[in-house]
């Protein structure tokens, strides 16, 4: 066992004090002299043709500096990570109620607001496409000219009918999942301005500044090098700031007015305009042998991506990839459809399609388990993937596979060992308790097809500090701390000497997105590469300075010391390098390993490296009202080597909470294209009083050779299986089997009454 100084230890978050004391300034907190204020005029209809836009009255309002429409866009009037199908400002058509039609820049926010009402837009309303399945039919009105099916994925492996012929039990069901909102604390916003060098600066909370830079450049028709994007620190992302939020409109406002502009969405505007988790309908037909082994799975998944593509295609692809769970299934037929509607917009969200299909697959397994009278742990152990297995999609599991380890650890948790006692402790006769278990895998990184790359620069300053520069921004997930730990461990110096810079196109190299559970893995590997280049150089120079052979030199604390006890400080070394004009830094690069098979038509499938997790829930159901409370939870996580122990536990806790909210209460309700949940008084997320006092987190370190010190990603998997664990626990408590989330009291009550689920 390697002895680590920093890796896996409990260390303070590098940005912890500033955040806990409120001293940290987010980008939406930054002001500038002469700042103008931007506002967006949004659509009045979920689906309509634009017949005319008259901005003259708004322009005439004193204090209005500029009113912008599609006519003011110098480059491509569109953004979108994969296809730029979402207009910066709509020209001929609006496709959802959050669509931007015009922008106002004014001296004062109240004036900007007032000017919005003076912009006259003439619409010709179109029939609203509000149901993804109906949208797929040929006679549906079209959201986009090319048709409503944005992308299809089809996986065939084995012979599914032959598989069903071997099955002793076939379970067939339809599942529906809600439209979850990221609910980051900091709504979308930031400021844009020209600096002294003439660069257009766009400082916006976001998950990938380098890609924002390119998207902004495409809209403005500018060389990307004329644009600087800063996106760290970001007040929460969860996938909702992966795509462009307001960057292109904001940049255009500063580009046109040549003055600093701030644009920051209200919560209501954030709700209607922002990305959401795809609601999905999932058709499952699953074949089991009498002993519980899985033999066949036939699946159809329909994802409602709303008005524009964004990452809807890859989200549905990942739902397809994980639709069979972490199980061996020899015969599969899986079809995925990503469909346009006028229901807002859906895009990236922590879990990225995996929570939806995991809910369906784990419920299928539970239904079969009950019929076959098998133990929930045993049926899973029998079917889980092991290293070297062929996965349902046909690729070989060549990387580390720790799902069995997480099951074995979870089985020893207090929740599971004490479950009969815990279940019996009900306070009132109308309360019933139950437990549930569910498991999941989540691919980390972007998969195959497109290289997933990372980069880091590590440099020694004259003050004797190491600066670690990595583009992937700190969005609250704690990657700065993970980077500091990785760098300090590799360099052998004190953690306090590491300063991390992220999320700035000018001051940190492109290291990809802070998404896909990838930033610690990718950035960590890039740091190791940079340190491997830098450290020998530093030791060689130190050897010169000391007049000794570099071979025996080592870095310790803030010094480089020889075996004889002679040494220099890092500050001395840094100054020396500067005086001699020697390079004091090194750049590291990393490109991900990829799987051996690519699924045709599904960019990014399959992954090679996966994170594995088992979660358990103890719930208490009020049989008279249907209200469900999560009383206790347990998580056993294989994210490879633990880099930042507290950070990983924090992710596990936060993920469990987000998954519990998804299972129990969260849903953005849209009717006929109009939002019924507009803010946090109607969009309900859990509070501390809705969450268990005890959540046992067990970190199972199955080392992944390709990761930094054996680490993998963790950000997403931790929110996935808790949802079906909760719904299974509800079934254990009261016999109600939910095939639709959230498990709101009324839905559970209807189940108790034997009525159809849903409303």
């Amino acid at each position: 066992m390697t002895e680590f100084k920093w890796v896996g230890k409990v260390v303070p978050r590098v940005d912890g004090v500033e955040k806990a004391t409120g001293r940290l300034r987010y980008l939406t907190d930054v002001g500038l002299p002469g700042l103008l204020h931007g506002r967006i005029k949004r659509s009045q209809y979920p689906h309509a043709l634009i017949k005319g836009i008259d901005t003259s009255r708004a322009e005439a309002l004193p204090g209005v500096v500029k009113v912008l429409t599609h006519k003011d866009v110098p480059g491509v009037n569109g953004f979108g990570i994969i296809v730029p199908d979402q207009p910066v400002f709509c020209r001929e058509k609006v496709r959802y109620i959050g669509d931007a039609v015009a922008g106002v820049v004014a001296e004062d926010p109240a004036v900007a607001e007032a000017a919005l009402d003076l912009i006259e837009v003439e619409y010709e309303p179109q029939p609203v496409v509000d149901d993804a399945e109906k949208a797929m039919t040929s006679d549906s009105p079209r959201v986009h000219e090319k048709g409503n099916i944005h992308q299809e994925v089809h996986v065939r492996h084995g012979d599914v009918e032959a598989g069903f012929a071997q099955a002793d039990l076939i379970i067939e069901n339809v599942y529906k999942t809600p439209r979850q909102m990221h609910t980051f604390l900091e709504t979308e916003g930031g400021l844009a301005f020209y600096d002294e060098e003439g660069l257009l600066n766009v400082w916006v909370g976001s998950q990938y500044p380098q890609r924002d830079q390119l998207q902004i450049a495409r809209v403005l028709g500018l060389n990307p090098r004329k644009i600087r994007v800063v996106s760290s620190p970001t007040g929460g992302g969860f996938g909702g700031k992966d795509e462009i939020t307001i960057q292109t409109q904001l940049a255009l406002m500063a580009f046109v007015t040549k003055r600093p502009v701030k644009l920051w969405l209200s919560r209501e505007e954030s709700v209607i305009s922002g990305w959401k988790r795809h609601p999905m309908t999932l058709y499952y037909r699953t074949g089991f042998k009498r002993d519980g082994s899985l033999v066949a799975n036939e699946i159809k998944i329909i994802g409602d991506t709303g008005a524009y593509a964004s990452l809807g295609g890859p989200v549905v692809s990942l739902a397809v990839e994980s639709s069979c769970g972490p199980y061996r299934i020899p015969h599969v037929k899986i079809d995925g459809f990503c469909v346009y509607t006028n229901n807002g917009v859906a895009g990236a969200f922590r879990g990225f399609g995996v929570p939806q299909s995991t809910f369906a697959m784990e419920t299928q397994l539970e239904i079969a388990r009950e019929k076959l009278v098998l133990d929930p742990i045993e049926i899973r152990k029998k079917n889980v993937l092991r290293r070297g297995d062929i996965a349902p999609l046909g690729h070989t599991m060549t990387a580390s596979v720790g799902i069995l380890n997480t099951l074995e650890r979870a089985e020893k948790s207090d929740l599971w060992c004490q479950r009969e006692k815990l279940k019996s402790q009900t306070p009132f006769p109308w309360k019933k308790r139950g437990v549930g278990v569910a498991i999941a895998l989540q691919g980390t990184g972007l998969g195959v097809g497109i290289p997933d790359y990372g980069a880091a620069i590590v440099e020694l300053t004259e003050e004797g500090q190491f600066i670690v520069r990595i583009g992937s921004p700190e969005i609250g997930q704690g990657n700065m701390t993970a980077y500091a730990i990785t760098a300090a461990e590799a360099l052998g110096c004190d953690l306090a000497l590491i300063k991390v810079v992220t999320g700035d196109t000018r001051n940190s190299p492109d290291s990809g997105t802070s998404t896909a559970s990838r930033s610690a893995y990718t950035g960590g590997n890039a740091i190791l590469d940079a340190v491997a280049k830098l450290k020998p150089k530093l030791l060689a120079v130190a050897g010169e300075m000391l007049g000794v052979d570099r071979a025996g030199l080592r870095l310790a604390g803030n010094r480089i010391v020889s075996p004889q006890g002679r040494g220099i400080t890092l500050a001395e070394l840094g100054r020396y390098l500067r005086e001699k004009g020697l390079e004091a830094g090194a750049r590291g690069n990393f490109v991900w390993p990829t799987a051996d098979v690519q699924i045709p038509g599904a960019e990014g499938l399959p992954h090679l490296v996966y994170t594995y997790v088992t979660q358990m829930a103890l719930v208490e159901v009020d049989t008279l009202t249907g209200k469900v409370e999560l009383r206790e939870a347990a998580t056993a996580l294989d994210a490879g080597r633990v880099l930042n122990r507290q950070g990983l536990e924090g992710q596990a806790e936060g993920g469990m909470v987000m998954g519990a909210g998804y299972a129990l209460m969260e849903d953005i309700i849209i009717e006929k294209g109009y939002f019924k949940t507009m803010n946090l008084s109607t969009y309900i997320i859990p509070t501390s009083l809705d969450l268990p006092e005890r959540h046992q987190v067990e970190l199972v370190e199955v080392l992944e050779e390709s990761g930094p010190y054996g680490a993998k990603g963790a950000g997403e998997a931790v929110m996935v299986p808790i949802s079906p664990a909760i719904t299974s626990a509800i079934h254990d408590a009261v016999g109600v089997r939910l095939k639709e989330m959230p498990a709101a009291a009324e839905r559970v009550y209807q189940g108790l009454r034997g009525e159809e689920h849903g409303q």
Binding site: Q207, L214, P224, D242, L311, D510, E603
Partner: protein, 77 residues
């Protein structure tokens, strides 16, 4: 000099083959390579040389491995 080029994703339309060997005069830059293939969209692309991101002005040298892709990856968080 010889360099190896791979296009990814939708950009595969410029060259299907992975690690295609291309002969170019010494001293050329990435922009010359893009000209060579007639790459139209010069804004929304990412260029990696030996796995490190560069821009169009980067000078190429013998044996460089160039990867050209759209920045279309994404994921949850």
């Amino acid at each position: 000099m010889q360099i190896k080029v791979t296009f990814y994703g939708p950009l595969k339309r410029y060259a299907q083959e992975d690690g295609l060997a291309v002969e170019l005069p010494a001293g050329v830059k990435v922009s010359d390579l893009l000209d060579h293939f007639g790459v139209e969209d010069r804004i929304y692309i990412v260029i990696l040389v030996n796995n490190g991101r560069v821009d169009e002005e980067e000078a190429l040298k013998e044996g460089d491995e160039v990867k050209i892709l759209s920045p279309i990856g994404g994921g949850g968080s």
